[in-house]
């Protein structure tokens, strides 16, 4: 039982070390500093990865549209 938990802990540590996603998020956070910008950057990156550039364009157009409507 104890052996299993040590093994699990080791795997978890290794995983943490090499969890690229987590690392990417951490680095992005470091680079951008500002929380809002970081969240926006992460959102755009995920959109880009999952749905492609068309989705990113749509997202940015939506932000632009919101700004324009707010201004009106």
């Amino acid at each position: 039982m104890a052996r299993n938990s040590i093994q699990k802990k080791r795997i978890k540590e290794e995983k943490n070390e090499l969890d690229m996603e987590k690392e990417l998020e951490n680095v992005l956070k470091e680079v951008l500093k500002d929380k809002n910008t970081y969240e926006q950057a992460l959102l755009i990156l995920n959109l880009f990865r999952k749905e492609g550039i068309v989705a990113v364009r749509r997202h940015i157009r939506e932000i632009v549209r919101r700004i324009l409507e707010e201004g009106m």
């Binding site: 990156l45 940015i60 700004i67 324009l68």
Partner: protein, 830 residues
């Protein structure tokens, strides 16, 4: 824990149409087949079983999920069995129709543990050690394109492949494709709008100037309103004065008109009275005339039975004091007489009408009488003829009796004649028979006949013949006599009717004569009455003509008398009016002056009103302008806010864009710092030659033809001969390059620890030599990778299976894949 693939069962997935079950529970599995034989489809089926999608669908987006269904199949079915080092068996079953929700089931050691997509994904992630689809495609499922890019690729392609293997390629792509132009274009558009609005504002007057002018206008308007109020008050005063003067003027005019009228009356009265010698004579003359008229009227009224009115007239005494009162009574009496005259006239007309009617009736009766009289005279001849017939032939009864007798006689004669004729025929025949037969006996009774009998018979026949002739001659005579009598009888009947009619007419004629006499009598009576009425009417008409003439004279004179009486009254009234005019103090020049002042005030008021309106109009125009300016300013402000926000957004997106690059750069450094020691460790194990002893990855930043900065990777090898770092890809042979590529793949599998001890290689290295084969088999013994599944069309890989079994004691299996057309791919053991 290391998990291996035990078995795959598939149908309806890409190239597989028939159900295929493949045992993969070996250390090395080779899938050999030509181009399009379904090798990649098989490896994709394993990926689909694990993740419910494939890299081509999710990452490359080159195909859609529904395209995974075989063209001739209705649904996908993939069953994947895994087994871990502890002997636990995991079974994943996925089904998906071309349209509809996918189904998934997860069994552990034959027991269903999850059948909802989310739960199955979670459990699988846990079982596989958290490895994602992306990582699966980087560390486990190695495609030829990656190896090609590493070994033969251009620097940029190679760098992209390494970035992808490191999992940082998406950052570079996101950096390059960040759609800033969307925002930039919008900013440009808003800028243009702002410029346009600014131009519009500059075209309008400046706001301050407009507001200044508005203040001035308000001040002027206040002054105008004060002046207008003052003038209004002045106008009210003058208007009141004018109204007062107008009233006096109207009163003055009215008095003047009254004086003129009364003067005219006085003048007329004086003119009328002038024809009479003295005004004092008038009453006595009127009295004389009235008395005469009264007597005349009274006598006529008595004559024509108007009693009550006559008494009234008779009672009235006429003198100078009541002369004017008696005139209406006389007029009334005259009118009564005129009424009586009218009644006479009407009576006369009525009588005349009666006379005319009686005359018409009389004439009609005369006409009828004359017509009847002539008819009676004509019918006297009928009577004579009737009497003649009666005298000659007797009464109608006698003639009828005679006719009946004659008819009986004639009938009898005819019967006798017929009888005799029949007898004659019998006798003649009997005689004829006797003479012909010369017999003497009767042919009927057979009695003996003597000659005397025959002679008697002959005589009898002759006698009958003689009588017959006489009878024949008498019949026409009797018939003629009968006809004549019948005619006379008919005529007599006709005459009888006519005679009766004649008698009736005579009676009627007598009645008519009486009526005519009566009418004539009435007519004479009426004529007498008419004559009497006509005489009365003539007398009355003559009297009324004269009396009316006298009455008119009387009325004229009484009128003069009245006027003479009222003259004094008029003169007194005239004097009073003149004194009232004098008291009015009417001055026409004062009225004129007041009107002039009032007009002046009105003129000034109109001028002020016009100025007021102009100012109001100008103010409205300025207010409209200022409203417009405010609106534009508001819009301008809004656009500026929008632009500021968009610029902020652009700035944020730029920062994000460059953050992606910075992140990528940092991650790359970190990855390389971890990767290179592992790489050299693997390299030292699998690289058998002594010419190179270490590898390194150099990163250079270069500008691409599109103008972007790109990090270019150069894999460097440390040459032992001179200790120099040389680029691997330009110095090393293909075999050495393949070893370096394998080094990369094995290092990557070490970089990311997970539970899946499988390496899927799709057409890995075209020229596989001994070192490569050895390196791969060493991998199975020295690393976590415990199963190698290679899909290739190169038969040289068969050597791995053979050597692996012989030299390393590994379990190997080779399958041959073949595409058969509509049935899809089939797999055969070799």
């Amino acid at each position: 824990m290391s998990i291996r693939i035990k078995e795959v069962e598939v149908y309806g997935f890409r190239a597989f149409n028939e159900r295929i079950k493949v045992d993969l529970d070996y250390d090395i599995v080779l899938l050999i087949g030509g181009v399009g034989s379904g090798k990649s489809s098989f490896l994709d089926a394993i990926e689909y079983a694990l993740y419910g999608t494939t890299y081509d669908v999710r990452e490359r987006k080159s195909i859609r999920l529904e395209d995974l269904v075989n063209d001739f199949a209705r649904e996908i079915f993939v069953r994947l069995k895994l087994i871990d080092s502890n002997g636990n068996e995991y079974e994943i079953v996925r089904r998906r129709k071309r349209e509809g929700r996918p189904k998934v089931e997860l069994y552990i050691n034959g027991e269903l543990v999850a059948n909802e997509t989310r739960k199955v994904e979670e459990r699988l992630k846990e079982i596989l050690g958290g490895i994602t689809l992306d990582e699966f495609n980087r560390y486990i499922f190695i495609r030829r394109e990656i190896l090609d890019a590493l070994i033969y690729g251009q620097p940029i392609r190679r760098s992209e492949a390494i970035d992808r293997l490191f999992g940082i390629a998406s950052l570079e792509e996101a950096f390059r494709l960040m759609p800033l132009r969307e925002v930039e274009n919008e900013i440009k558009r808003i800028k243009e709008l702002i410029e346009r609005k600014e131009r519009e504002i500059s075209l309008l007057k400046r706001r301050e100037e407009i507001e200044e002018r508005l203040k001035e206008i308000d001040k002027e308007l206040k002054e105008i309103e004060y002046e207008r109020n003052r003038l209004q008050e002045e106008k009210i005063v003058y208007s009141k004065e004018y109204d007062r003067l107008r009233e006096i003027e109207e009163r003055y005019s009215r008095l003047i008109r009254e004086i003129t009228r009364i003067e005219g009356i006085v003048e007329q009265i004086k003119k009328d009275v002038k024809n009479i010698a003295s005004i004092d004579v008038i009453p006595s003359r009127v009295v004389v005339l009235a008395e005469k008229l009264k007597d005349d009227i009274l006598s006529k009224m008595i004559q024509f039975l108007a009693g009550a009115e006559a008494e009234e007239i008779e009672r009235a005494t006429i003198d100078e004091t009541n002369i004017l009162n008696i005139i209406p009574a006389l007029r009334k009496a005259l009118e009564k007489l005129e009424k009586i005259e009218n009644e006479y006239r009407l009576e006369l007309m009525d009588l005349s009408e009666q006379v005319r009617e009686i005359k018409m009736r009389y004439e009609a009766l005369r006409g009828i009488y004359e017509r009847l009289e002539s008819e009676v005279l004509e019918k006297e001849e009928v009577r004579e003829r009737y009497e003649y017939i009666l005298k000659k032939y007797g009464s109608r009864k006698d003639i009828t009796r005679r006719v009946e007798e004659l008819e009986e006689e004639l009938e009898r004669t005819r019967h006798e004649y017929e009888y005799e004729q029949a007898l004659l025929r019998v006798l003649s025949r009997t005689l004829g028979i006797l003479e012909r037969m010369k017999k003497t006996e009767c042919p009927v009774c057979l009695r003996e006949l003597n000659e005397g009998y025959v002679r008697t018979l002959k005589e009898r026949i002759n006698k009958i013949i003689g009588e017959e002739e006489e009878r024949v001659r008498s019949i026409p005579k009797k018939e003629k006599q009968l006809t004549k009598l019948k005619n006379i009888l008919r005529e007599l009947l006709d005459l009888e009717v006519k005679v009766v009619d004649l008698e009736d007419k005579k009676v009627r004629l007598e009645e008519l004569e009486k009526q005519i006499e009566e009418e004539k009598r009435k007519l004479d009576e009426l004529n007498d009455i008419i004559n009497e009425v006509q005489i009365k009417l003539r007398v009355l008409t003559k009297f009324l003509t004269e009396a009316n003439k006298s009455m008119r004279q009387l009325e004229n004179m009484s009128s003069l008398l009245q006027k003479a009486k009222s003259l004094k009254e008029y003169e007194r009234k005239l004097k009073a009016l003149k004194s009232e005019i004098a008291s009015l103090g009417y001055d026409p020049s004062e009225v004129k002056r007041t009107i002039q002042r009032l007009e002046e005030v009105n003129l000034r008021l109109r001028a002020i009103d016009s100025k007021y309106k102009e100012l109001i109009k100008e103010r409205e125009e300025l207010e409209r302008k200022i409203k417009e300016v405010k609106k534009i300013e508001y819009e301008l402000e809004k656009y500026k806010v929008k632009m500021r926000k968009l610029e902020e957004l652009l700035e944020q997106l730029r920062r994000i864009k460059y953050a992606y690059r910075s992140t990528q750069s940092l991650l790359r450094k970190r990855m390389l710092s971890r990767f290179i020691p592992l790489l050299n460790e693997v390299f030292s194990n699998i690289y058998p030659h002594k010419d190179y002893d270490a590898l390194n990855v150099r990163v250079e930043v270069k500008r691409t033809s599109e103008g972007y900065e790109r990090s270019i990777y150069e894999i460097m090898a440390h040459r032992t001969t001179d200790g120099a770092w040389v680029p691997v890809l330009s110095r090393l042979s293909d075999g050495q390059k393949a070893l370096v590529a394998l080094t990369f793949i094995i290092t990557l599998s070490k970089l990311r620890p997970h539970n899946l001890g499988v390496l899927l290689l799709d057409e890995p290295i075209p020229n596989i030599d001994y070192e490569c084969r050895k390196a791969l088999m060493d991998t199975l013994s020295s690393t976590r990778i415990k199963q190698l599944i290679i899909a290739t069309q190169n038969p040289e890989y068969m050597d791995i299976a053979i050597k692996g079994s012989k030299e390393y004691g590994l379990k190997s299996k080779v399958y041959k894949l073949r595409w058969t057309g509509k049935k899809g791919t089939i797999i055969e053991e070799c």
